[in-house]
């Protein structure tokens, strides 16, 4: 009973909140704009190039006494070129690139740990699930701390009330899935020692 209670507490407060942060990472401004810049920079470059050629031609024509007019396409090209430049300035810097790459790696690592949580809960040996979860928790703790200290992600939002509520619901779902008790409360286990003699 105590073991299942501890499994539940670990999942609710020390493991699932971190794992549930991964989708939030993908919604961060840096992440979205960096990928927008990364995926579209080639198109922008092409469009910008298309916009610049007519301008150069127009200037050359004007100098030679010809008429100067910008096509709609060249205006679009210039606009996109400016956008690309702004995105590159704001989100193409090395520090942002490193941060976003770090966040991508973090999302992958959190996904790996999530699968390890499932494997831990499926462990049928006595005390096996808790021992395996402690190993996952230690690995997760190192991962979280390294990412905080390297400035990749702060994990602050993981522990907002809304996320804790979601973590509790996810924990109950997981425990049901693996046929583990979800009825224990802190008061019920208060009179059970934590240590095995």
């Amino acid at each position: 009973m105590k073991e299942e209670f501890l499994i539940k507490r670990k999942l609710e407060y020390s493991i699932i909140p971190y794992l549930n942060c991964a989708p939030g990472l993908k919604k961060s401004r840096n992440f979205i704009f960096f990928h927008t810049y990364d995926y579209t920079k080639e198109v922008f470059t092409l469009m910008a190039g298309y916009g610049i050629v007519p301008i150069v031609n127009n200037i050359a024509n004007a100098g030679a006494g010809g008429s100067s007019s910008l096509t709609a396409m060249s205006v679009v090209g210039i606009g996109l070129g400016i956008c690309s430049g702004i995105l590159k300035f704001a989100y193409g810097r090395e520090s942002i690139t490193q941060k976003v790459m770090g966040q991508k790696k973090l999302i992958r690592n959190l996904a790996i740990l999530r699968s390890q949580v499932h494997q831990a809960l499926a462990d049928n040996a006595p005390g096996g699930s808790l021992a395996a979860l402690i190993a996952v928790q230690k690995e997760l703790s190192t991962l979280v701390n390294n990412n905080i200290q390297e400035g990749i992600y702060e994990f602050d939002r993981c522990f907002e009330a809304e996320n804790i509520a979601k973590s509790k619901a996810d924990t109950n779902r997981l425990l049901q899935q693996f046929n583990l008790s979800i009825k224990d409360t802190e008061a019920e286990v208060e009179e059970i020692p934590d240590q095995i003699v």
Partner: protein, 133 residues
């Protein structure tokens, strides 16, 4: 990343352990087949400003020997039990550096009560029992 602030001994984080007591100040315990498991509260003092979590490493005989606490507003405290003496360690996780604190459970309880003045015969007996277990 891992450093201890040995240059600032007075400001280093320290583990604090106190008995959970009844209204008379006597330690509470669970009697399990003749073994007294004393109810204790473990927390951290001198917490560095950028700390956001503490990882406690308890004796391997605990059902869960690794505890992560993020309740900074409660000095990263948690309740547990102990029937014997062992070295407890805590890694105080900071946004820049981590700091390690450790100590013998009986010494840390002694230190708490020598400073608080709330010591009585039951407390002294409980500390002795933990030391001799």
């Amino acid at each position: 990343m891992l450093k201890s602030k040995s240059d600032q001994p007075d400001n280093r984080p320290e583990i604090q352990i106190a008995f959970r007591t009844n209204e008379n100040g006597d330690p509470l315990y669970i009697d399990d087949k003749g073994t007294r498991h004393f109810k204790i509260r473990i927390s951290i003092q001198n917490i560095p400003g950028d700390s956001y979590a503490v990882n406690y490493q308890l004796h391997p005989s605990y059902i869960s020997s690794f505890r992560e606490q993020r309740n900074r507003e409660e000095d990263f405290a948690f309740n547990t039990t102990t029937y014997g003496d062992y070295i407890i360690s805590a890694e105080v996780m900071g946004k820049k550096i981590n700091t390690i604190a450790s100590g013998l459970v009986s010494d840390l309880i002694n230190k708490y009560y020598s400073g608080s003045g709330a010591v009585n015969n039951a407390v002294t007996a409980a500390i002795t029992k933990i030391k001799l277990a």
